[in-house]
């Protein structure tokens, strides 16, 4: 606290979470290098939403930008969490996949091109269920090919978080960057409560939700590689750091033995609490320790 009676660092902070998808993507590039591909005026929108009485968005909630990060070619794909919960439909999924495939083609031509995916999403868009599922499968395949050539960095800043099928895409990323406000998990709190009852997971207990899905816990247990404040320069700095780092020696999702052993050793006959669990998985495999 300063003598002004408020915390100047907090007040003057440039929030990243408050930015929309387009502003978030722009903020990650070297100033003035970014241009948008298939923007809203191209009007490539979902054909399925209007049929179901839902207003579509001109970019289908998916912003694709090409430009430079630390002077090197990069593509950024940002999902707009405010439109249909950032859900993946046929069009938004195809935009993501095509962007990563083009980045892959550039790498193969000898132009190093990294990818950053900004996931604010509940996963598949239920109105386009099968097409959304197929899109996520294609996206995962594209990440697996691209990550051999260049880092695929996943950023989940919040407040939607990253859930459902897209959490699996995040799991394949070379690096995962989160804020304390962000959540990452396969099944969201409401889904767990609905499937297994309130005694298994109380989805109204926000402290419990963040203790399990929150960025701080994910980072502490080695499932995220960097924990950043909701501060635009800090977020952009973390992205630059991972772009410069390049392809990691071992991807988290390739460490099958490590995670299989950990899960086998876990005593599932009793309820673990998030703090104990953090101690158990503490010497995690996040990037700093890898």
């Amino acid at each position: 606290m300063s003598d002004k009676g408020y915390n100047a660092n907090f007040i003057n902070r440039q929030s990243f979470i408050e930015l929309d998808a387009r502003e978030r993507a722009t903020a990650l590039f070297d100033a003035g290098t970014s241009r948008e591909l298939l923007g809203p005026f191209d009007r490539v929108e979902s054909p399925w939403l209007p049929m179901q009485g839902v207003t579509p968005q001109a970019d289908d909630g998916c912003v694709v930008m090409k430009g430079k990060i630390t002077g090197q070619a990069a593509v950024v794909v940002a999902l707009e969490g405010a439109f249909q919960g950032g859900s993946t439909g046929e069009v938004s999924g195809e935009k993501m996949t095509a962007a990563l495939d083009l980045a892959c083609a550039d790498n193969e031509k000898g132009i190093p091109t990294s990818a950053v995916i900004l996931l604010e999403t509940g996963g598949v868009r239920l109105q386009e269920a099968n097409l959304g599922l197929a899109a996520i499968a294609e996206l995962m395949a594209s990440i697996l090919v691209l990550r051999k050539h260049a880092p695929v960095i996943c950023l989940t800043a919040g407040t939607v978080g990253c859930f459902g099928g897209m959490s699996l895409a995040a799991g394949l990323a070379s690096y995962v960057v989160m804020t304390r406000e962000a959540r990452l998990g396969m099944n969201g709190p409401e889904v767990i409560e609905q499937e297994n009852g309130v005694e298994e997971f109380d989805s109204s207990d926000r402290a419990l939700i963040w203790a399990i899905h929150g960025g701080e816990q994910r980072y502490a247990t080695g499932l995220a590689d960097a924990l950043v404040d909701d501060d635009t320069p800090q977020v952009a700095d973390a992205i630059r750091r991972f772009v410069s780092k390049g392809v990691p020696p071992a991807h988290r999702s390739s460490q099958v033995t490590l995670y299989r052993d950990r899960i086998e050793k876990l005593d599932t006959s009793r309820q673990w609490d998030p703090k104990e669990f953090r101690a158990l998985w503490a010497n995690g495999s996040n990037e700093e320790k890898r």
Binding site: P40, F41, T55, P56, Q57, A58, A82
Partner: protein, 97 residues
């Protein structure tokens, strides 16, 4: 979802296109582009059915001050008239920046 169209007279050319907003609950996106001729055309898609008169009232007020020959697409997710007015003004501000 309801689709509504309005036309208004225009006096001057629009120089630059603008995109603002998001189709999130209680919000809308506006795509404003230069159009040919001396007419402004507004195409609305809204998730809240049955508010044609309200849309007309909001747009009548907006076009009392705006005379650009624009094609305006509005994708609405149940924004209130105040929010619609602000987004339209924001779109004009961006297109004239």
């Amino acid at each position: 979802m309801e689709q509504i169209e309005f036309n208004y007279p225009a006096k001057r050319k629009v120089q630059k296109r603008a995109h603002v907003g998001v189709v999130g609950s209680g919000d809308l996106e506006v795509l404003l582009e230069p159009a040919e001729g001396d007419v402004a055309r507004v195409f609305i898609r809204t998730s809240a059915d049955g508010f044609r008169d309200t849309w007309k009232a909001v747009l009548d007020r907006f076009f009392a001050n705006y005379d650009g020959a624009a094609r305006i697409q509005i994708n609405d997710a149940g924004a209130t008239p105040g929010i619609v007015q602000l987004r339209l003004e924001q779109a004009v501000e961006v297109s004239e920046r």
